[in-house]
């Protein structure tokens, strides 16, 4: 996911739609995020580029809405309902995700395996 500033970013992304789970007053997405421009990107275990301040999925509640929707640990969230997530604070990202009036969030995520898969598709036979 590294990129050169000023250059367009090319990423293989996947759309994931998560239907929030209502628990009492809470709407639950069932995953946790890490990262953000106010965070230390060097501590992000998921990013390849350790200067990447993007929002990453750090944990998934097994069986939770995000899990069901196919979100995976380590996914980088590019957009939430169309909002850019590559240059936001951690808290902003959290707020975008947890809007009370939205039952569904549509994520645009990218993950290494997507890119690998595409690269593989150019490169050779699949290797597990």
């Amino acid at each position: 996911m590294s990129f050169v500033p000023g250059q367009p970013v090319t990423a293989v992304v996947q759309r994931i739609e998560i239907q929030k789970l209502r628990q009492g007053n809470n709407l639950i997405l069932g995953f946790s995020i890490g990262g953000g421009i106010d965070q230390d990107p060097g501590q992000n275990p998921f990013s390849e580029d350790k200067t990447d301040k993007g929002i990453y999925v750090t944990r998934i509640t097994p069986g939770g809405p995000a899990d069901v929707a196919g979100l995976m640990m380590g996914d980088k969230i590019m957009q939430v309902n169309g909002w850019d997530m590559t240059m936001v604070t951690h808290d902003k990202a959290r707020k975008r995700l947890t809007k009370k009036n939205e039952d569904v969030v549509r994520l645009l995520v990218t993950r290494k395996s997507l890119e690998e898969a595409v690269k593989q598709s150019m490169g050779g036979f699949p290797r597990p």
Partner: protein
Amino acid sequence: MEDYDVRSAASILASVKEQEARFEQLTRALEEERRNVTLQLERANLPPNPPTSQPLAWQQVVMQEQSPSNATSLAMMQEPQEVVEETVTIEEDPGTPTSHVSVVTSDDGTTRRTETKVTKMVKTVTTRTVRQVPLGPDGLPLPEGSSPLGSYTDSIDRRYMKNGNDRFITPQATSTLTRSYNNSYNDSYGETPESQYVRHYGLHDGYADLTDNYGSLSRGVNFRPPRYPYLPNSYRPENSYTLPIRKDDYGHVAQPQVPMGSSTVDLNRSQPERFQPEPYGLEDDRRSLGPEEEEPYELEPDYSTANRRTLPGANRGRTHREPLRDGPRIRGYPDDPIEAELIDERHPYIHGMYSAPLAQPERGSMASLDRMGGRRSPSIDSIRKDPRWRDPDLPEVIAMLGHPIDPVKSNAAAYLQHLCYENDKIKKDVRQLKGIPVLVGLLDHPKSEVHRKACGALRNISYGKDNDNKVAIKNCDGIPALVRLLRKTNDMEVRELITGTLWNLSSYEPLKMVIINHGLQTMTNEVIIPHSGWEHEPNEDSKPRDAEWTTVFKNTSGCLRNVSSDGAEARRRLRECDGLVDALLHALQSAVGKKDMDNKSVENCVCIMRNLSYHVHKEVPGAEKFQDPSALQAPGSVGPQRKKKDDAGCFGGKKAKEEWFNQGRKNGENDKNYDTLDLPKRTEPSKGFELLYQPEVVRLYLSLLTESQNYNTLEAAAGALQNLSAGQWTWSNYIRATVRKEKGLPILVELLRSDSDKVVRAVAIALRNLSIDRRNKDLIGSYAMRDLVSNLPSGQQRPAKNLEEDTVVAILNTIHEIVTDSSENARSLIQAQAIEKLVAINRTSQSARETKAASHVLQTVWSYKDLRNALTKDGWNKSHFQPTVTATPKATKNGKPGYDDTTLPLMEKNQGTRKCGSGDMIPMDELGPDGYSTIDQRDKDCKYKAGDVSVDLTEREPLKNDTNRKHYIRSNRPAVSLVDACDVKPQPVDSWV
């Protein structure tokens, strides 16, 4: 493909443009070539020459036989730089073994075909490769490099349906299959009904230079007709070098090529019902039939993955090839320059048109992408694209595994491998269609191509969370078959596949013992020992060999790493496996020597060592001789007095050392003897499992801890020390002392500052075990306390590093161990400002385990009456040091009322029930969708081993670890507290949403 978005239209546009430019260049070159050929044609309009000594003798022979089209051959003779290669696959309905089609080649080069049977179906797949290849004297193309154009391949599928039979059940050749296996084979007499389906897999490989435009991949997928795997410049069809053989392959195809649209008229054109009009006019009505001619098929399709992996894109597939038949064929397949020409001139068009979808033929990967979006079936894409073409469906492919002709088998297996790639549904289907036993059966096939492909398919099938696939492989004796093949084959690629499959299988607990039973010694002898550089009888003259970090070694060590966590019996088997420990140790020492310690193989080796070190003091034969009886009476605490151990017989100065230990325990200040501790002398060099706990290994682990950047390796090395320093036996005493003597304590303390949670945890527990040694305890109390305390959270706020609950508990337990029986250390604790944190944890932590552990420490501290004054002065009183009343309710606050240590499964059981999903899989280039969790999980598994050791000491708390549970607990924590931690300085923060 709506699942994809193109992030940047601009960059894709750029890459498309770049491609277009390339195609343009190609076009120009082809034009030139065409002119050349035309020239040659004119010149060559004479009767064919007999074979001469020219490199292209075979073509000349062909010319002889195929006079109508000899021009091409001649042209090529004269211009050896240009080679037109063609591969033709003929398919016939196997139900009509006798020919109902007769082909008449007339003098004018046209072909008449008479068909007499209604049900006859014939399919011809033609792959034509035109490129410039310099030919060597043997007629084989020389290595690439002189070709300015690169090459392209087009595949033309044709099927001729007889008498208007519109059932198009022929497979399309290249649309959904990934590789252009340009080998062709005649299968006129296929016995199985399925043989009609796929004789030719056009599978693509080597899109090495396409990486820049993958963004456009998704666009093209939907509309791209399946048949045109037009490849970028560097594409080399894998079998394209099989020039001399090729003629043989279609020697039976006595069909002159009739270029369409040229002056010659192909009679077949007049049979429109058979002709599948191609949207882009590429369809050529070549008819290749030769049913009477029974050709034993011998062509070995050589699209080995080894080639693919090891060769840089352009030369892929060119290195090895197996010689096939040689000798002139009576009826060769003629090369048709005009057709080539025609195709050539279309190429620019097509290239321009289809540049984006070029990558599409690799549907294996697309499949994996598709799958995320939802559904995929092997044939869906092609149907969607063009209802006339379809892929063989899964039952057909599986049936083809049993086809009598070997290349069909291997192609079917290769296709299965491709289909199964990251597609759990297909894997399951293969299993349910009983495909796995067939694949396993193919492992014993004598032809390397067949067992290689079968193995590749099995590796993909064995990968993933669906353990039923693994069980299915085991149930048909796949594991012994794999091991057998490992013994048999010398092909490195096959060995990689085998060990990769075994690694995948080893992730499933119930299979671990099976793997040990069948494969342990073989893997050790065939892979571990040779690659480790260790020698049974070291040659004194030669210097010791270094380990080679090959893929095979990585896979095998990964497999052993997995099976080494299968409990006491597994550990025993591995320890007693001849040469294993020696080789692993040698490999690690070699890694330390070369300062090459960050790779996966080293990680695997250290993890195996760590696992094998677990419980050595209980499990090793003869361990009881070394037990320390006094320690058994007072486990986990520091006995004031140590009794003499049984004399082991093989150490000198034992008695003195015992004295020394006792003194040390009695009087921590008496350290003079300590630092002059000499290690036990041995009468003979230790070997095998004894090496696990010899004090020499301490230096190895400390080197790893100092040098390695790999968290998993660090954790494992710390875990090994932790395991070795646990327990009450002679060796652990030595180990504890040796760590100190080798100046290991500062190294460990330093690692308390590691960013890695699990490293901190392993180090903390190791320090705890090491502090059983009195002198260590004093040193750790003096020098490590601040680092320990700094890892503790302060109250609600998570600690700076946001350490996991397990880690916090481990640190608390270590602190507890250090302050027990040492008021001096308790004083250090107070000075490190720990009381505030401990009280905060005790009162406010949401983790019952943290609360409990903190409470233990506080009680111990309060028990030192001489410290109470100081504590009171700091404003603390007795109530702060008592177990909080809220402790019990806190457990419920976690949302898990039933959560209690005693109700949790014990460690071993926990391990047994843990489903090692992808965690233990071969993380092929971190490819898996859960690349991170993968490693994480596996390490959790391993960590149990290490963590469990502390059971010996006091309590079980730090050992229990359950990812799910942890998540659960965490998820019940208010997100606020997690989020707000980001105020001071950027720290990793997790927010549950």
